[in-house]
Amino acid sequence: MNDQAEPKERIGVYVCHCGSNIAATVDVADVAVWAKERLGDEGVVITHDYKFMCSSLGQELIERDIKEEGLTRVVVAACSPHLHEKTFRTACARAGLNPYLCELVSIREQVSWVHSDRQAATEKAKAVVAGGVERVIHNEPLEPLHIPIHPATLVVGGGIAGIQAALELADSGHQVYLVEREPSIGGHMAQFDKTFPTMDCAACILTPKMVDAGGHPHIDLFTWSEVVRVDGFVGNFTVTIRQKPRYIDTDLCTGCGICWEKCPKRVIDDVYEAGLGYRKAVYTPFAQAVPKYPVIDPENCTYFINGKCRACEKFCPTDAIKFDQEEEFITVQVGNIILATGFDLFDARRVPQYGYGRLANVFTSLEFERLCNAAGPTNGQIVMRDGVTKPELVAVIHCVGSRDRNYNNYCSVICCMSSLKFAHLVKERTGARVYNFYIDMRTAFKDYDEFYQRVLEEGTIFVRGRVAEVTDAARLPSEDGKLIVQVEDTLAGRQRRIPVDMVILSAGLEPRHDAKAVAHQFGISCSANGWFIERHPKLDPVATMTEGIFIAGTVQGPKDIPASVSQGAAAAARVLGRINKGEIELEPVRATIDARHCSGCRICNGLCPFNAIIFHEDAMVSEINHALCQGCGTCVAACPAGAISGSSFSNEQIMSQIEGLLLFDRPVRSRHFSAV
């Protein structure tokens, strides 16, 4: 630090080219030369620029210098520490240097990729390197924190991704708590009729998995339940689950179905049947529901409304109806959490020009799924809203609510394929003429494009263009009584009006309406579109920035069933790795109070959100519990006596980094403000 004193440390500085990623914008050689000349007084003894520091040769370079030159500190100027910090720290450790004496500073994400002026970028890179050098001098040798992992896992969401994750974990012998909001697991997949491109029946492939999950000795299933509270951190979360009252004693209920047979109250089912069918006030959403026990919906149950009826109770052969049941709160301990809470379908009412909700024969994709499902309200008959008429002309509109600045910019991935599926099913079951209105056909992945070819050959008419309007306003008597699809056919280059009987809107996928609240509850973040953010979009798609929280399925972004299943399994594999190891290593970022300097003012006590600071009345000093401290550093910044220090982010480190960053702009360093 001090110009006059001999530098205490021997520092190596390594500047990475990252191929041309950095070298194209930053004169890396100049940075390396400059660092040695300018920062020699600070202890920089060796500088190198190298093509790929993260390559094994690059790492060996560091290791060799540590051994041969006796380096005591290492600064690598390369990519973001979120990417390769661990790589270089490990390299240092291999050479016998404490890994926390290595500092990775970002001259790629924060310099070469965001600036274009070579001179300015090079200067900034020098400043960043100087900041790193000044900082690393104050780094302390640290040991990572070892956190034991509780072997149980919480899976939130009982759709296909959640079921897959739960089964993988449970099959390997570990306890899983599977929480589902609805009365049955199964998720959206349980609503579908067929699955593209193989056209196998969704229920046939899903229900065995549901049954497995329902009866698995290592899975505790909580349906009709929600997570209300999450405490603790990776390795040891305490989760509180609210079990809503079913008003059914599941120990007695046999799932015989007499109760819903006898229930006199018919209710429109707008969840499972997408508003197209009815259920009773006591119900299971569908025949293959897991668990088999029904729930009583108190909002619609006659007994709950006016105190009379109790028909189900009278007829129940096992006396399982319990109207006095109350909600329960169950607390479980888990080491990791997998979130697979899925998606909501885009509300097609938001596109008023397509007429959904106004024009009877405009259907959403989910409604149509129910319509052609053999177990659905029409027993699989594709009919118009009157329940009788078979359509002769059907339009399928793609990208409803997707790829549209007014709603969602992103592509919902599955709609092209499901629209093709609809076209195929309509053709197969009604022989109607089918039009598909698309912007671009997106049929990537295995066997998908072949399916497109097949549907083309079946004679479905494809019109390329975004539909302007679906209207019942006929212009000519020939259009009377029809729905008219007004579209610009961009291949033919003309406006077309196509009269049809039925319109299916392939609505996009949206994050769950409460995704933000869920993200907040579990301490993770949502992207601008509302999907949960993964740790790395390519290389770590199922982990999140928060240790111990994993994501799987559409909660991470629109995807189809195979991708959701893969992610469910992948998340489980990540968790299994943790469980098998028994512990994880965490960054030793923690705050510590030096009792000798603590005046006992207690300012820090109220600042800690985790109640990690305890006050000793007898000694009149505060102390930080490292098991609870998460290392945010708010108390460090607040302590008026400077008695709290934060490892990895100490005042000395940051103050020196500030000096280093500004060194370049101050050729003559003033000593008036030197850090204390």
Partner: protein, 165 residues
């Protein structure tokens, strides 16, 4: 480079949101002026006001503090504490004769790379309009003049003895 004043700005970023937003801006190759140099903290709550004073005293023309949006703090609510400190700090530096606008607080989530880049662009322009702060220079001048009892500098002079680290 032309004669245009190029301010130097120190940015404090939160490890969980704005530092990742900066990474995201990089990955997406979103350009912003090179005048800002970022320091990573674990949380905007770690931001000790003396860091800001230190940066200004060492020659920075402005300081940008970034954190998670209210309600989205990785550590529950520490960004509110950062907000409180920044508001107080802006008043304090105002009393020292420094434009409070030289310290700015910006919320940026991990997804907001574009927004962060825009905010940096705006802030650089704001500071450019304010001109150089040159606090070290002013202090040096005050020292050369002996007692240097320029009213504008007095509180800053007092800072000399009192700045804790």
């Amino acid at each position: 480079m032309n004669d245009q004043f190029e301010p130097v700005i120190i940015g404090f970023t939160c490890n969980w949101c704005s530092y990742r937003a900066a990474d995201l801006a990089g990955t997406a190759r979103i350009k912003y002026p090179p005048n800002i140099r970022l320091i990573r903290l674990m949380c905007s709550g770690r931001m000790d006001p003396t860091f800001v004073l230190k940066a200004l005293a060492e020659g920075a023309d402005g300081v940008m503090i970034t954190g998670c949006h209210p309600g989205e703090c990785h550590y529950l609510d520490q960004n509110y504490k950062a907000l409180r400190r920044v508001l107080l700090l802006r008043r304090t530096i105002g009393q020292m004769g420094i434009e409070p606008g030289r310290v700015k607080l910006v919320w940026a989530s991990a997804a907001e790379g574009v927004r962060l880049a825009q905010e940096i662009g705006h802030f650089v322009e704001e500071i450019r309009d304010m001109g150089p702060l040159n606090w070290p220079g002013r202090l040096a001048a005050a020292h050369v003049n002996g007692h240097g009892r320029d009213d504008r500098l007095m509180p800053a002079d007092m800072m000399l003895e009192e700045v804790p680290a």
